[in-house]
């Protein structure tokens, strides 16, 4: 077979090839054959598997291997091959010549499947990005996107969505994200027209990322609210969507929704995606602080995240104690971290929460305290602390944060007795939310069950049908007899 011939010839004369190179090449060839079978049988699942296997091989890709694979997959003189090979660095001239020699002597020119061509684009792009050659990656990805606009096959969709992701990534790494916004919007339109749901999902996430990169929360929200929604196809894309949604909601002051989305994103994310989970957790912590609840210590002690979450841990500490001075010093100390995480504005909003928490502590500990003392304890550093304290306390009472009254004439704050929580409706409400959550989870799990696709198509053979009918008859007789017995 021609493949065997190539395998035996390739390792022998190539002096610079390491021992892993032939096996990587073999893997790539296996993947290529998987893609071919998938394309012919129109089974998208095989192509998804192929992509997954490629990701495992990512570390081992080298220029020679890629050249060899390109020669194998696409016939050397053809248009696509020339375009792709131009992006790869010409490391080993000798290697290249030999490869072309062998492949020319091989069997007839294969007409490459479009899937295979797009797959080659994907491989080259991944290689370039891993090698940090971002400008070439940019050029390669633009070429691939141009090529994709002409293809309209469902089996290409999976590969296409990965290509869009790397396209956006290469532009982001070179800092030109705004340029491709128009392209991404056009691609999203095309994907919607073709009912390419995975592509739609991926492109929507890429667009949201694009807008959020430039802090254009308004436009991101407008896009998100108008874009068509459907059941998520890919878990990773769904996680990303939830994270972006959480961010938008946080900025728009809708903290409850934001908390739900962010926590869900952190939970659903795969364990290997450490960076993503760290970001989700950072935002989730801030949202919980803004809502007035203190996250538990275990959140900060998750594996691998201790260092990254350290600034947020100290911040939580300051908010928990209710000390404005400490809060200010922590915010200044870690201001660079907060600015790079873009959470700086949110931290500024937390000042209000610090004051509230401090006030709550005071209200619980004292039955009666003068307003001047309140101002001193809260460390309000303003021109007129007592008057400020009075207004702040009045607003806190109105918002229901503390239960007290102010005696203006004497300048006191008098706390009321807190009643027994269990005699109110509070426990019922808390239980209800938890029950609803568990039931939703159950329903989602049932809906996510997947059955092998052809099981319902199996036609019963005549024999089996007779057998089944016989069994049913017996059962019916049995039940009838039972009924008679009882009477």
């Amino acid at each position: 077979m021609t493949e065997d011939v190539e395998m035996k010839e390739l390792p022998a004369p190539s002096n610079s090839a390491t021992s892993s190179s032939p096996s990587t090449l073999n893997h790539l060839k296996e993947i290529a054959s998987l893609i071919e079978t998938g394309a012919y049988a129109r089974e998208v699942r095989r192509i998804v598997r192929a992509v997954r296997l490629t990701m495992a091989l990512r570390r081992k890709l080298k220029a020679q291997v890629l050249c060899a694979f390109l020669n194998f997959a696409l016939s050397p003189g053809s248009e696509p091959h020339n375009r792709l090979a131009a992006h790869l660095p010409k490391e080993d001239e000798h290697e290249m010549e030999f490869d072309t020699a062998t492949s020319v002597s091989q069997s007839p020119v294969k007409h490459p499947l479009p899937e295979l061509e797009i797959y080659c684009y994907l491989l080259v792009l991944i290689y370039l990005i891993d090698q940090k050659k971002y400008s070439e990656a940019k050029a390669c990805s633009s070429a691939s996107v141009a090529r994709l606009k002409n293809l309209n096959r469902r089996t290409v969709d999976v590969l296409a969505s990965r290509l869009y992701f790397y396209y956006s990534l290469s532009y982001e790494l070179t800092g030109d994200l705004a340029e491709i916004r128009g392209n991404l919007l056009a691609l999203h339109r095309i994907a919607t027209l073709r009912h390419d749901e995975l592509g739609q999902e991926t492109l929507l996430n890429l667009l949201l990322r694009n807008y959020l990169h430039y802090n254009l929360y308004d436009q991101a929200e407008k896009l998100r609210s108008k874009a068509p929604r459907f059941e998520a196809h890919s878990n990773q894309q769904f996680c990303r969507y939830l994270f972006y949604l959480g961010k938008i909601r946080t900025i728009q002051l809708e903290y409850t929704d934001a908390k739900e989305s962010l926590l869900q994103a952190a939970r659903k994310a795969p364990v290997a995606a450490l960076g993503f989970r760290v970001q989700c957790n950072k935002w989730a912590i801030i949202v919980r602080l803004l809502l007035g609840e203190i996250p538990e210590r275990t959140v900060f002690m998750q594996k691998g995240m201790e260092n990254a979450l350290r600034p947020y841990f100290e911040l939580t500490n300051a908010v928990r104690i209710g000390d404005l001075e400490l809060f200010k010093s922590v915010a200044e100390k870690f201001s660079t971290t907060f600015s790079s995480d873009r959470t700086h504005n949110l931290i500024v909003r937390l000042r209000h929460n610090v004051i509230r928490t401090g006030l709550r502590n005071i209200s619980i500990s004292y039955s009666r305290i003068s307003l001047a003392d309140v101002a001193k304890k809260l460390r309000l550093d303003t021109a007129n602390p007592v008057a400020d304290a009075e207004s702040i306390v009045a607003k806190a009472i109105r918002d229901g944060a503390i239960d007290a009254t102010i005696d203006h004439a004497n300048g006191w704050m008098v706390s009321k007795e807190t009643g027994d929580i269990y005699s109110t409706n509070e426990p019922q409400i808390a239980f209800n939310s938890r029950i609803a959550f568990c039931l939703n989870m159950h329903n989602d799990a049932v809906r996510a069950l997947r059955f092998p696709p052809n099981s319902h198509k199996e036609k019963e053979s005549a024999e089996k049908r007779r057998e089944r009918q016989q069994q049913e008859q017996e059962l019916a007789k049995h039940i009838a007899e039972e009924d008679d017995d009882e009477f």
């Binding site: 002051l253 504005n345 500024v348 209000h352 400020d388 009472i397 203006h408 019922q428 159950h442």
Partner: protein, 268 residues
Amino acid sequence: MDPKLAEVSQLFERFKAACAREDVDTCCNVLSKLKVLLTGFSSLPPLFEDTPNAIHELTLARDIYEHAVLLSVKIGDQDAFERDFFQLKPYYTDASSSRLPPSSQEYMILGLNLLRLLVQNRIAEFHTELELLSSTALENPCIKHAVELEQSFMEGAYNRVLSAKQTVPCKTYDYFMDLLAKTVRDEIAGCSEKAYGYLSVSDARQMLLFSSDNELLQYIKEEQPEWEIKTGQVIFQKAKESASCKEIPSLQLINQTLSYARELERIV
């Protein structure tokens, strides 16, 4: 120079003169004419074509819109402000990065917009706009003023809000500060209702910033009919609170229990 450009510049000079004279009607007329003429330029948003006079045209258009915004503040028309500001915004965000020199009034107008959102209680949009500002913008006194105002408002330190009226960075802010004062007064009234059992009339007058007792009485009669005035004291209604604990929200409980039953039945 391009004849169209010359015409627009001339008209703009007339507009500025009318503004200085405080002649509001002429201003509005001339402004509408200017806006119509501006549609003739293709270098403006949304087209952003690269014509030879592009920079000149963009700068001129931006000045016109800035004056339009300031005019709308003067006549107190908030809708016109919003419209003109939205038209002005692309000049600050998109055009500035490429070609135009920064405008001297940019920060003042941005601060005005933030203040307007605060007064209209559109806090979510306030924060969204805030995100768009760079850190250098946040150091600018006009914008810092608006941000600190929002913080004081959120915290509830209303006296700080009212004292900030004295420290406005520029006179155009006065219009919004007056509106804000009115909102603050309503807030203070609401808070006082819940926080105090009663207040002496003089204290109430001081807190709500009325200059005389009569104004206070009028305010109470119009806005707060539940407050009672007895022997020189304002008494806030508080009796309604405790009665509600004894009821059971039966409808809610029934709904919840029914939904549990339905979901549990679905479990096979």
